[in-house]
Symmetry: C2
């Protein structure tokens, strides 16, 4: 019986190769040739799965989003019933480059964000879903918070602010501005300001 | 009498061309050939002023920093004696892409930040001076604030947080996440959290 090709695995090998190329050389380092070499496939096999460079980038962006989403869901289940502060803290630290995988994700998403402005492959609309989702998760948790400092009608705005801050903290961290320790202190400081000081 | 070449002007024409190229196509769009075409000079003239691609990028990064610095200084002088909140607000809005020039600066600095991680031309150290300077300006103003919410020993941390947030807000804005109006509301919200609600 012929062995079935595992398409999912092949796709993952291709998008993993694209991520590594972006980390080493930015979005412009991604070509069918470089992806084929990095993944150990032929150019035509890569093209079979992703017909255009835009397909390659979109598949890679989607794969990062799926990884983050899966990790979020696992973390969420493991948390169980927790206070809003703890939930928000968990969500935010998942987005900090505190290990190799998250560091790779932060770099790749940063490159996609910058590239969407300078016209390299994918559009701003294609990168926005995740940040809108983050804002709505944060707002849901803020609504549950009893000791909320800002008036309730500012919750969406505060959620937007926390999302912007974590993006700045994560990009600052990979760009060498501050350690993991500082990043975690900044997250706590932001939550102190929003939810009141921890005990 | 032979007309003296205005070296400063030539340099500025070259770095302006580099900025426009980055906005349209990212750091990889910058080559001696493309800069020469964009600036209307010969390749050898561009090379006379900037011998390597790294020189080109460093000169451009420096020119953006000088523009921002000059604008800061002018704004600062025009402000005169103001409350810390107003001073911080002025500093932060200078960093938001609220007009064409600041939009170009935000895109170019974003590309440099991302590129410093993915190895495209300049190193993180070369991009850090500005963000350290910003943190120290913010901390100085926070120390003057009478109604400061966070304890005094957290001033440096709060200054870091405000700097990270404005970076996230500015990059979010150029990446299509939110309008100028939202960005300004986020700045006010962050200042409300740090310095207490406005009257």
């Amino acid at each position: 019986m012929p062995r079935l090709v595992d398409h999912e695995l092949r796709r993952r090998q291709i998008t993993s190769a694209v991520r590594r190329l972006i980390v080493r050389g930015g979005l412009d380092a991604v070509t069918f040739q470089s992806v084929a070499v990095e993944a150990g496939f032929s150019v035509s096999l890569v093209q079979y799965y992703c017909g255009t460079k835009k397909d390659l980038l979109l598949a890679t962006h989607r794969s990062v989003m799926e990884n983050v989403g899966t990790r979020f869901a696992q973390r969420w289940t493991a948390l169980g019933e927790v206070m809003p502060r703890e939930a928000i803290h968990a969500v935010l630290t998942e987005l900090l480059p505190l290990d190799e995988q998250r560091r790779e994700e932060t770099i790749v998403l940063g490159a996609f964000g910058t590239g969407s402005v300078t016209g390299q492959g994918i559009t701003p609309e294609e990168t926005l879903t995740a940040s809108n989702l983050l804002v709505s998760i944060l707002a849901d948790q803020l609504r549950r918070a009893p000791q909320l400092e800002p008036p309730v009608n500012r919750i969406e705005l505060v959620a937007e602010l926390i999302a912007a801050a974590i993006a700045g903290i994560a990009q600052g961290m990979i760009q060498g501005h501050g350690t993991a320790e500082l990043a975690l202190e900044l997250v706590d400081q932001q939550l102190d300001l929003v939810l009141g000081k921890r005990n």
